[in-house]
């Protein structure tokens, strides 16, 4: 008897399990759910934590679930009040999402369980930036009154503040709908009358969004619990001549990373891909064999691409910290570089959303700053017809790595004398970029393929290269090749902002994408020192190729590119698929905030233990990224609550009925002694 009941229970249990797991019943599963593309790209808002702030989004542990409700106008937002279902995932158009009041109002409803954001087809978005009005104001050089550079920004105070776009959206997952997903969602809602009616009949198209973040409270807590990781990646640097400590160095820098509200949408075509492209193109022009005189110039030129700058100048803080430490140990303790060796530093920021002119910002109007701007102005006047270099000395410097470097000096006299200049496209009144640090700062916005855009970047590269040429020599010889390669500028900009499956990328790194997409340049949490992320690997190879001292080193099949034979201070880079190695003084440098120094040094890499120390410089970045459970988004239909209840009650009734029948049978049927079910014959 007991055996029979056990078998029944087993069969029932197995049946339940089979329905529960997708693998066991793929057909049934597929019939119920439609996956959103977000499964492949992390088109979701994730959570980041610093010692005093938490920003971003998280779903509840079991996901945010609700019927879809469309909000593309104030009228539809008002209608949400009258929506009768108990939980909703709202489908919000970009322009409604950009209004801070939209999410504030929705947040007051318990039935609001999450949001899907989309850009309507063929529309121009209104200005929007998820970043602060004064980005990175908490880091590097302190301003008494940080100017509101980014007028399209949150506008509700410091990042993470209630009501800013970077606030902490607790338990409300927010996903971005790719155009394909947008069309799918909108068409399903249209078919089901969910676009035209506030409360159409059941069943309703619904969504389940999972983006559960482990990190909570602050960076200190989540690091201790191993629920988050410090932001960490690599800087790239390279020199024209082999580096030595006795030679002066002209440093030229740009920012490699970008950020966006949605994790994998950090395209940043203007901020800061434009400056990045200009720097690499200028390096290429100076590295051209025709301009080889630069390799015997009095001063060396060092190109630096900083990483993690969007989150409190991580890369520049690390490098400047090592350079100002006593004893300093960048690039190495044996060959240290200090800022006393650097007469000029030129940083290139966003370049493409203003007009033709560029503006040069510096801390003070020192003699060296005047020299730098003089070189820039002369080069601009000689090389271009209509570019002016405006000049803002002593005013506040816009968000730039230079702010962190100046901070690290910890000496006001040194700051004032330093020849550090930041050039960018906007006047002192604020950014001209309407979409700073959002996914809308994309190829369309900067018109990446237009001749005007390419020409402007190309011109800046030429002016930059010519200025560096002038800075490097004491007595300047004529520069044989003065025009940057505009075709290369076009191709590089295209690869970064439109299609990372382009030939230039394929030549240098392993491409896994099948369809054209921009390179997302969020800094990330690369935990080990050995390998580079693909974007960093790509930019490394581009810079290495641009300033290579020898472009035709034979590839050796046994030793590859790593064989010795040249000065150890050069790296050999092999291009994929070719048997040629480049010999180039280009290197990587670990970029992580000095605030986390003990975090990695106390234990071997990869086994982090908590050690963020109080009393570290509060102007250093402490941003960490939360660990998360697998991210998923899917569509299905929900039935009316009473119908769902009916299903459950019906199931229960059936279950007890079955039990009753079995009990009845077991008490009214006698077994004979040969029964298989009851061999003891009891």
């Amino acid at each position: 008897m007991a055996t029979l009941a056990a078998m029944l229970a087993l069969v029932l249990g197995l049946a339940l399990l089979a329905v529960d797991t997708a693998e066991a019943q793929p057909d049934l599963f597929r019939r119920i759910y439609t996956g959103l593309d977000g499964n492949q790209d992390l088109n979701t808002c994730t959570r980041l934590l610093s010692v005093d702030k938490v920003i971003g989004c998280s779903s509840p542990e079991d996901g945010g679930v609700g019927a879809l409700f469309h909000i593309s106008s104030d009228q539809e937002l008002d209608n949400f009040d009258r929506a009768d279902h108990h939980s909703y995932i709202t489908v919000i158009s970009q322009d409604m999402f950009a209004k801070p009041t939209t999410l504030q109002r929705l947040g007051d409803y318990n039935k609001f369980k999450g949001a899907l954001v989309y850009s309507p087809e063929n529309t121009t978005a209104s200005p929007w930036s998820p970043d602060d009005t004064s980005p990175n104001a908490d880091f590097g050089l302190e301003s008494a009154n940080p100017p509101a550079w980014n007028s399209a920004g949150g506008g509700f105070g410091a990042s993470g503040a209630e009501g800013s776009h970077w606030q902490n959206y607790k338990s409300r997952p927010i996903f971005y709908l790719t155009p394909a997903d947008r069309d799918l969602v909108i068409s399903r809602m249209t078919e089901n009358n969910q676009l035209s009616t506030i409360n159409p009949g059941y069943p309703l198209v619904a969504a389940e969004l999972r983006s559960f973040m482990w990190g909570a409270k602050d960076a200190k807590t989540c690091l201790r619990r191993k629920h988050c990781d410090p932001l960490r990646s690599h800087n790239i640097w390279g020199t024209m001549q082999e580096y030595n400590t006795s030679q002066e160095v002209v440093m030229v820098t740009a920012q490699m990373d970008s950020l966006a509200f949605f994790h994998d949408q950090a395209i940043g075509a203007n901020a800061d891909a434009s400056g990045l492209v200009a720097l690499i193109a200028a390096a290429r022009l100076l590295g051209d064999p025709m301009n080889s005189a630069i390799r015997t110039a009095q001063k060396n030129i060092m190109f630096v691409l900083f990483n993690g700058e969007s989150f409190g100048y991580i890369g520049s803080s690390r490098m400047a910290y090592q350079m100002t430490r006593i004893p300093s140990n960048f690039p190495s303790a044996a060959l240290p570089l200090t800022f006393d060796q650097i007469p000029y530093l030129l940083e290139i920021g966003q370049l493409l959303s203003g007009g033709e002119d560029i503006t040069a910002y510096s801390y003070r109007n020192s003699a060296r700053v005047q020299e730098v701007t003089g070189f820039l102005q002369t080069a601009a006047a000689n090389l271009t017809s209509n570019m002016n270099v405006d000049y803002q000395a002593g005013a506040d410097i816009p968000p730039a790595s230079l702010r962190m470097i100046l901070h690290e000096f910890r000496n006001e006299t040194k700051r004032e004398e330093f020849g550090g200049v930041f050039i960018t496209d906007h006047p002192a009144s604020g950014f001209t970029n309407s979409f700073y640090h959002s996914r809308l700062d994309n190829a369309d916005y900067i018109d990446a393929s237009s001749n005007a855009t390419v020409e402007k970047l190309c011109n800046v590269s030429s002016v930059l290269a010519k200025s560096l040429w002038s800075m490097a020599f004491e007595t300047e010889p004529p520069m044989p090749l003065q025009q940057a390669d505009c075709d290369f500028v076009r191709e590089l900009l295209y690869c970064i902002t439109v299609d990372q499956t382009c030939q230039l990328v394929k030549d240098s790194v392993n491409v896994i994408e099948n369809t054209p997409s921009p390179i997302s340049r969020y800094v990330g949490v690369k935990p080990t020192a050995g390998t580079l992320t693909r974007p960093v690997g790509f930019f490394f190879n581009q810079l290495a190729a641009a300033i290579a001292v020898d472009r035709n080193v034979t590839y050796n099949s046994t030793d590859g590119c790593t064989a010795n034979g040249r000065a150890p201070d050069y790296q050999r880079i092999r291009w994929r698929g070719t048997d040629v190695c480049y010999l180039s003084a280009t290197f990587t440098h670990l970029a992580w905030s000095p605030a986390f120094d003990g975090y990695y040094s106390l234990k071997p890499l990869g086994t982090p233990s908590f050690d963020y120390r109080d009393g570290r410089d509060p102007r250093w970045s402490t941003w960490t990224e939360s660990t998360w459970d697998p991210i998923k988004g899917r569509l299905f239909f929900v039935d009316a609550p009473h119908a769902e209840l009916g299903t459950v009650l019906g199931g229960l009734a059936w279950f007890f009925l079955s039990l009753g029948i079995v009990y009845y049978l077991s008490t009214h049927i006698t077994y004979d002694s040969h029964s298989l079910l009851d061999p003891d014959g009891n």
């Binding site: 998280s58 542990e61 559960f212 973040m213 482990w214 990190g215 909570a216 409270k217 200190k220 807590t221 201790r224 619990r225 629920h227």
Partner: protein
């Protein structure tokens, strides 16, 4: 143990044993002792003090345990690293 058939000395022996063993952080044993011998203690005065003190011990112990559970749940996140060290399972996504 059928109390009706158990001799008085045996009852006393068991009740005493349970009482003393209860000091080994076994409040549940005290509770069982108090409940089990509650009726007997009315007829056997020598049992009474063990039953009463078992009950008192159990009440104090459970009160302390519940108080600690409430304080711990309430203050765990405030205590920071100390709170985490005391925790066997650290909840994800919450302070």
């Amino acid at each position: 143990m059928d109390l009706r058939r158990t001799p008085a000395e045996e009852k006393l022996r068991v009740c005493k044993l349970y009482f003393y063993v209860g000091f080994a952080f076994l409040p549940w044993l005290w509770l069982v002792n108090a409940v089990w011998f509650a009726r007997e203690s009315r007829q056997m005065p020598e049992l009474r003090k063990y039953v009463i003190w078992s009950a008192v011990g159990a009440v104090i112990y459970f009160a302390a345990l519940i108080a600690w559970a409430v304080i711990f749940q309430d203050k765990r996140s405030e205590w920071g690293a100390f709170g985490d060290r005391l925790s066997v399972v650290i909840p994800k996504g919450r302070a």
